[in-house]
């Protein structure tokens, strides 16, 4: 709603993407912690949500995040073979592959949903993943397709 009586519109600034990051508590969550204690500078756009295992990711979490206005959703877990529960990340890989395909099929921008494997020792990789994701989201602007309009 442009209003000429107001001061210059803040929309003139570039849209800052908001990322919801679902992080496995056994690896990526610790990886993000390592990025923090190592004082690595990276984008502050991600809201971390710790989950017990990527295998516990419900597709509904992803859809709900987009519904509530997330510009991007990241799911990050343990490298194949490293799951604390032996096979949770393999199950997540299959399930979230289908979620990604479905979101692309209905026309959500392909860049908006991403998965990564980040171990507890990969603080630097975690910072890279977030930076790269935010960098890819910025040109897309706000996510309006699945966001609730009410």
């Amino acid at each position: 709603m442009p209003n000429s009586s107001q001061s210059p519109a803040p929309e003139a600034q570039a849209h800052e993407p908001r990322v919801v990051a679902f992080l496995c508590k056994w690896c990526s969550s610790a990886g993000s912690d390592l990025a923090g204690v190592s004082r690595i500078q990276y984008s502050a756009n991600a809201t971390p949500i710790t989950i017990p295992c990527t295998g516990s990711m419900s597709p509904l979490y992803v859809l709900s995040a987009f519904n509530k206005g997330a510009d991007g959703v990241l799911v990050s877990g343990c490298h194949p073979g490293d799951c604390h529960y032996m096979e949770g990340n393999y199950l997540a890989r299959r399930k979230l592959y289908l979620v990604k395909q479905l979101l692309q099929f209905v026309g959500l921008e392909a860049e908006r949903f991403r998965m990564s494997w980040v171990s507890a020792a990969e603080g630097a990789k975690f910072a890279e993943v977030i930076d790269e994701f935010v960098g890819d989201l910025r040109p897309l602007g706000p996510q309006t397709r699945l966001k609730a309009k009410h």
């Binding site: 597709p59 859809l63 519904n67 890989r93 099929f105 026309g107 998965m115 990564s116 609730a148 309009k149």
Partner: protein, 348 residues
């Protein structure tokens, strides 16, 4: 040709010997050309059973309803009749039963599958029939080999090419005979060549991202949230649906704080975002379970091509994971199994 008299005889025999509680099948409908589902529990009624290209419904849905009724009877301390139920099943219906068996929703001994083969043909799409001048007043549609349907209008019979009337899913069908059956009527025809599998999905995903969203935004906007797709689906048997919470109903005692802090995945308003959430959630819930009976699309009052969402995931399951829903009720389900060589390149 499926010998309908033999089918009736078999059903009557089952009922007469008391081997089954009831037979779920098709009979002549009272409105228009389409057959309607029926449940018969007396041998004499077996005469009314029919099998023709207007037997559209996926009767596996009624097995689900029956199990729910049995469970309800048990909670009322009544001993339900433990005999099995027989079901007349096309190829797709038998796959639906196989998925229900795979999920332990039904036991194998609780169902008798009377398989009927589509014999290289399939069922009609009533919309395609109604779009034709002679189809408007058709009183009967019969099989006439794999390439045509015999449509009776008044006293006149015309042959219409099968391709013009077949339901979309039948054009793409890969297994038009029930692989899972206790008895099979008709011949197994596997060669079809009417259309390549997943053609409609491949066409839809060929469009650009923006065009795809424009299409689906249009469809989600028109959704009335009547939940007919959910009601007709044999796989939608959750006692509680994510969009339709029964545990979190508001009572006079519900405080404002409880209402405010309650998790609501999806609002009930029929807006684009909420309908998208409903349909996408439903599609994901059916991943590796949808057997492409096309019922959701058939019952949609606003013609949303819902089949596309489900077949998209079935295509991915088939191409990436070599998984077909309902192929074998002993197989591990799609989402509870994995292989080392599953796609990994999309993960950073």
């Amino acid at each position: 040709m499926v010998n309908v008299d033999a089918l009736r005889g078999y059903a009557a025999d089952l009922l007469e010997k008391g081997q089954v509680r009831a037979v779920i099948g098709y009979r002549r409908g009272t409105a228009g050309v389409l057959a309607q589902p029926c449940t018969i529990d007396e041998a004499g009624e077996a005469e009314t059973l029919v099998w023709d290209p207007t037997c559209l419904n996926n009767l596996a849905r009624y097995l689900v309803e029956d199990r729910q009724q049995q469970a309800a009877a048990q909670t009322r301390n009544k001993t339900p009749d433990g005999r099995p139920v027989a079901i007349v099943a096309k190829g797709c219906d038998s796959r639906a039963v196989a998925v229900l068996l795979q999920e332990n929703y039904l036991k194998r001994e609780d169902v008798v599958i009377i398989g009927v083969s589509c014999e290289g043909s399939g069922v009609i799409d009533p919309r395609k029939l109604a779009a034709r001048p002679e189809g408007r007043w058709a009183s009967r549609v019969d099989f006439a080999g794999a390439d045509a349907f015999k449509v009776t209008v008044g006293g006149d019979e015309t042959l219409i090419p099968a391709r013009d009337l077949l339901a979309d899913r039948c054009l793409e069908c890969r297994a038009a005979a029930p692989a899972l059956n206790d008895v099979l009527f008709g011949e197994v025809v596997t060669e079809r060549g009417l259309d390549e599998p997943f053609r409609a999905v491949k066409a839809a995903q060929g469009a650009t991202e923006d065009a795809r969203w424009a299409t689906w935004e249009h469809h989600f906007d028109r959704c009335l949230r009547c939940f007919a797709c959910r009601a007709v689906c044999p796989m939608c048997y959750c006692p509680e649906c994510v969009v339709d919470s029964t545990t979190f109903v508001n009572t006079p005692g519900t405080t404002a704080e409880e209402k405010a802090t309650r998790i609501r995945w999806c609002e009930r308003s029929a807006s684009v975002s909420e309908s998208a959430l409903y349909h996408l959630t439903r599609a994901i819930h059916l991943a590796g379970r949808c057997i492409d009976c096309g019922e959701c699309e058939r019952v949609c009052p606003v013609n949303i091509p819902l089949r596309l969402l489900n077949t998209k995931l079935e295509m991915e399951a088939f191409e990436q994971f070599q998984y077909e829903a309902g192929r074998d009720f002993g197989q591990a389900s799609l989402l509870s199994s994995f292989r080392d060589e599953d796609p990994n390149s999309f993960i950073r």
